[in-house]
Symmetry: C2
Subunit: 211 residues, 2 copies
DNA sequence: TTTTATTGATTGATCAGTCAATCAAAAATA
DNA sequence: TATTTTTGATTGACTGATCAATCAATAAAA
């Protein structure tokens, strides 16, 4: 069987399998054997390519983060106004493929791991910073920098919190309801400012002005 | 050494030790020996009183939840108006002893555990429901029931999200900043309604009217 | 033949949970 | 009161299972 060039194929298969396994079990207490079996290879091969379980987990987080970035970049490209950029970021966070029980459970498991593993924490901090800074760049033109920072903090927190709620699977909010909640927060905060900036587009963020 | 009536003393010591150990390590991957050592007893004694590690963990969550309820009840008792009740609930969530890195890390670890342990999930669902329903009872007099539900969802999500952010320990928000964010959200949403109800007190929630 | 892919078998460590034994206070008895 | 019995508290040592990591061996390209 051994054909050449298997390494990238196996790496991807193992990372995908790790995500599925962690997600379905909802915990990082999955064995290398579990993951390898899911990927259709031996546990020894997983060690061969990743060196350690920890490294495989880190590669898995990176994959998750990379997907999120790709999605965010694509969504931002389609947004014309600052307000639309903010909406695009909110929507990406709750995009169907990011908001599945498996993926949410995996994120949660990684957050737990962040407490004891600095490298994991670092990656999650990068995610948090990126979301915050992306939101900020959309919000700054719509308010003062201080308000923008504040609103970005609030929106980011609400997004993360909705993820947690989702993970409990008890009366979880739908994607649409989640998006609406965050949108309402942002709109409410922006319209509550001592309007020194035109806010005309802020009430229907997704219907951008024509031309 | 054996004096009578040690059981409640040991149980409490073990639960406290579990919280400290889990919090400081930031993970449920602590051994019974770790916890027992922290409590100053043997691992065998921990098993003697709790039967299993899982049961000790569940007792620990219950303790956390119980403390939260006690604090909430006390805070609600001091609140005169519905709006003040909402503020009291927000403040309790970020109360100093609930918002320490240890406690936050422990909560996070328990959320992870909720994925695979139904009893743990059930307890966390209880917490989520209690917060939501408490918020609701304060919000309903200030808005319609539908808006109240929506705002309660948003506020609860934001609170949980701020906890997560805290756990990352990267530029975490202060207690005051956290409280302010949630307060601003609630105030912003309430003032954005088609005001069919008097909202005069909603802008300075903590300065209740006299008499 | 050299290199790459792959695995079964093994190792060493870790841990939850069990158990039999010990110790000392309390209760019963003399 | 003095002595014996009972009982709760406590632990060290052990077991069985699990798992990450290693390694030597095999198979198939190149």
């Amino acid at each position: 069987m051994p054909k050449l060039g298997m390494e990238p194929v196996r790496r991807k298969a193992l990372v995908d399998a790790a995500l599925r396994t962690i997600g379905s079990q909802g915990s990082l207490d999955v064995t290398m054997s579990d993951i390898a079996r899911e990927a259709g290879v031996s546990a020894a091969l997983a060690h061969h390519y990743f060196g350690s379980k920890q490294q495989l987990l880190i590669a898995t987080i990176r994959a998750l983060l990379g997907q999120l970035r790709t999605d965010a970049v694509a969504a931002l490209k389609a947004a014309a106004t600052p307000r639309q950029r903010v909406s695009a970021l909110i929507r990406v966070s709750f995009q169907a493929d990011q908001f599945t029980p498996d993926v949410v459970a995996a994120w949660l498991a990684f957050y737990g791991q962040a407490q004891s593993a600095d490298e994991v924490r670092h990656l999650l901090v990068i995610y948090a910073r990126r979301l915050h800074s992306n939101l900020l760049s959309g919000l700054k033109p719509l308010s003062g920098p201080d308000d923008a920072r504040r609103i970005a903090d609030g929106a980011a927190a609400m997004i993360d919190g909705l993820y947690i709620r989702q993970s409990l699977k008890a009366a979880p909010l739908s994607i649409e309801a989640s998006v609406t909640l965050v949108e309402d927060y942002v709109s409410g905060q922006l319209s509550g400012l001592n309007n020194t900036l035109p806010l005309t587009q802020s009430l229907s963020p997704l219907n951008g002005e024509r031309d």
